[in-house]
Amino acid sequence: MSILTKTEAGPPGPGDPAPSGPFLSVRDLYVQFATEDGVVKAVDGLSFDLERGRTLGIVGESGSGKSVTNLAVLGLHNPRNTTIRGEIVLDGQELTGASERTLERLRGRKMAMIFQDSLTALSPYYTVGRQIAEPYMKHMGASRKAARERAIEMLARVGIPQPRLRVDDFPHQFSGGMRQRAMIAMALVCDPALVIADEPTTALDVTVQAQILDLLKDLQRETGTAIVIITHDLGVVANTADDVMVMYAGRCVERGTVREILKSPEHPYSWGLLASIPRLSAPVDLPLSPIPGAPPSLLNPPSGCPFHPRCAFAEEVGGGRCATVRPGIPEDERRGFACHLGRERKREIFTGQIQPRLGGGAR
């Protein structure tokens, strides 16, 4: 990995240090889009917390509301067709009702985002250096020259060889892995306290993927950044996250530490996610076991537990409660899951049916 150059401590953010409570706190968040077909309930009553220096992995299928949640944190939704309710508090500052000006000052400086596809997320028309320098000039009031030096420094920091030469390259002259690094440099140029990485490695091959994740971890160790990693790859989560939140249909269905989620998941959806991972140690002719069915329509989510139409164990709950009563998740506990199944029955199913499919819990 690259040699990391230590930078001076980031400038104090407004309202620093945080008085009390977690660094990022999302409470009862609803994000709804008005479309021609009706209202899409993309995020439906979501709460989570994140401390400085920790990494939260958000896992779920496409359309489970992972990205939507984080775009809401940054305030990047189109206000014309989006309704956002609930609380998003970053370092003691309420973001949901905040003005565009306030958000603009926070974005890129206090909170930054790394996007999935670096080819489309970098503008093809400007040099990599300029795109990295831009937020530095805006937020830090740096001169063009200072910002350029900073861009070179950042490129070196994320492991781009010959940064002094490459700073004037255009994104299309970079390889996929280098582009992703450049984008990380762009997100981190102002030493943000919160970094949201939306599938930062999905478009990359496995070796580069590992390098990028290591890089994020190194940077976190250096600056104490809080990181949210959005992914559908449990391998990435296992590598990077401290805590995990499993999302389904815009809700959190299970949360806990990474160990808890991977070793002793309690929600049938988490079981399904774990069981659908192909394993190198498994015989090649063993079919994968995907979760049957498709994610529900968010225009018209199923009643009760949104997962019940796809859940193999819904019948085991008496009185058809899965189809009628929405299972809750305890608000203020680190570990939680939203499922009606009894604890005893769950343990039975997990040890009897699920664990064998995971290769004896070898992870």
Binding site: L76, M113, T120, S123
Partner: protein, 325 residues
Amino acid sequence: MLRFLVRRVLGALVILLLISAITYFLFFFLPSDPALLSCGKNCSPQNVALIRKNLGLDLPIWTQYWHFMVGIFAGRDMPIGHCPAPCFGYSFADQQLVWDTIADRYPTTLSLAIGGATVFLCVGVGLGLVSAWQQGRAFDRIASGVSLVGNSVQIYFLGPIAIGLFASSWHVLDRGHDPDWSHDPWGSVQGLILPCMVLSVIFWSNYSRQTRSLMVEQMSEDHIRAARAKGMSSRYVFLRYALRGAAASIITIFGIDLSAVLGGAIITEVTFGLHGLGLLSVQAVLRSDLPLEMAVMLIGATIIVVCNIVVDAAYALIDPRIRLS
């Protein structure tokens, strides 16, 4: 860049050569005989033969074409008299030097085309930008309505109305006259305002719609969101990121529209009674005036080809991905 330019200029020369050859040889497929036409009513075979010889029509077609092309660059001595370097020969119809006629008429058409293009680019792109910025609001709706109307009117319909309103009734604008840039630049501008406005209407409505949709499309790109995510203001992102992307497409469309602009200028000058290339080129065809036809064709084609090279170069400057390949 240099290699690109050299390659394009060479290509342009080939295209112009082809155009000249096709125009020249097509002329001889026409049933009319220019010698007979200029001979008049009381015409004897001897007269026709003499005129034919004077016009150089007695030589083989290939030889004629060769002489003509050489004359453009080197000038030539003709039976009527000497014809200096950009020589397109003497008109069959009125025995004037074709170059003089052209030099007299081209400024009008060119001024119209350039003025019109400037107006419609500024107004069209400007309206499109504001519409995209105000997407879905009143301004956007009104502008797209106006654009739709503007897109469906014709110059020869709009021209007389504009003259009637702005010149005859309200006396706020000149009704349009030929420019004379060397003696009366300000008067020339005044004389061109109304024609340029009319010419620009059919174009700007199209450009405002194109610009609007290009900008709306650009604004939904990932890199726009990424730029917003790093704290760039929406106006900055709109003007620096989205416009840069849209500009490449706008310029492409403009390159395609160039010949339409020249054509529109010709219709406009006929509508406003200006003395540009419009009537001249129609007359040239009707009178089987080969040298004049050739000159109008070739100069028009040259302008369009050159402008296209400029457009492509501009495109390469805007989009670095093109620049290097």
